[in-house]
């Protein structure tokens, strides 16, 4: 018996495709963000408010993932920007191959921002690199404050946390400061922005974050 050292990533094939996507984004100066959360944390609602606030000349596109239905793409197409639905047919996360396939027909040189809305799931999407510049995790005030401790991987890997549905804080027992403390225990120094897609609170801050992140990317 002979033991050979391998030392390669289990998800090597996905990693290769993700690195290729990353290189294409870099060459075309496209910022790609990957939104991850539990089902029902408000990813699509946030994207509706985000696209609504974008200048009509903005070069933004959205890929939205779900197990079934084209519902999210229909909701998001209203704003006039290119939107494509990725239906995974049961797979609980998006992978780099799905992204590559759905980018076909979209010239990246015509884009500045690509937003990927992952399948609602805090576990599996954390393992799959999509070539994005930043993962962004959403946590809503109708969930538990301890979610960052229960699902540390995605909170650790996300550059930004959006605390959503903050308009509901007076009506729910959710302790926002505790949730943020938990997030920063898993990911020291993590950036956190409070938002409400219903009242619009915090959305200016989120839009500023996106445009600052685009500038930071362009300077790298």
């Amino acid at each position: 018996m002979n033991r050979i050292a391998v030392e390669k990533k289990v998800l090597n094939e996905n990693q290769i495709l993700a690195d290729q996507l990353r290189e294409r984004y870099r060459q075309n100066d496209v910022l790609c963000v990957n939104l991850v959360s539990s089902p029902g944390s408000g990813k699509t609602a946030l994207l509706e408010r985000t696209l609504e606030r974008m200048d009509k000349s903005s070069r933004v596109a959205v890929l939205t993932g779900d197990l079934q239905t084209e519902n999210d793409a229909k909701r998001l197409a209203k704003f006039g920007f290119p939107v494509k639905q990725i239906t995974t047919g049961g797979t609980c996360h998006l992978d780099a191959k799905m992204i590559g396939r759905h980018l076909e027909g979209w010239p990246l040189e015509d884009l500045d921002l690509l937003i990927v809305e992952n399948v609602g799931n805090l576990v599996c999407p954390s393992s799959y690199d999509l070539g994005e510049d930043a993962k962004i995790v959403l946590l809503s005030t109708t969930e538990g404050e301890d979610k960052p401790l229960k699902y540390p991987s995605i909170f650790f890997k996300s550059e930004l946390m959006l605390l959503t549905k903050i308009d509901l804080l007076p009506y729910v027992p959710f302790k926002a400061e505790l949730a943020k403390e938990n997030a920063r225990r898993v990911h020291p120094g993590m950036e956190i922005i409070d938002v409400s897609s219903t009242t619009g609170e915090g959305l200016d801050h989120w839009m500023e974050w996106l445009s600052a992140r685009q500038k930071k990317r362009a300077n790298v």
């Binding site: 002979n2 599996c124 393992s127 699902y151 540390p152 991987s153 995605i154 650790f156």
Partner: protein
Amino acid sequence: MHELGIAASILESVEKEAQRRPGAHISKVGVKIGELAGVDQDALQFGFEVLVKDTDFEPLALELEYVPRIQRCSMCSHEFRMTEFDPRCPLCADFATVCVSGEELDIAYMEVDE
């Protein structure tokens, strides 16, 4: 719930290695799983067994090595096992510590009967 896909990826790597070694049989594959990898070991082991059963890969064992989360202090360089999600350095109490291991999802080795 994505462990079956990960098991399939491990098996693909074994298959590729086997193709490079005609006549040899790969009997074991060793995989490192970091604390932050978000992979359940039992589900992965089960998925792997299901995929291997009744195929030419048999007998093929999967050995999993758990890699704990280790932080390094940016101030004093002390390395420590992070528990209870407290990132503070136990020596100098600084919060600026960085993760140096625990994110692994790597194939470490394979055992080949030539």
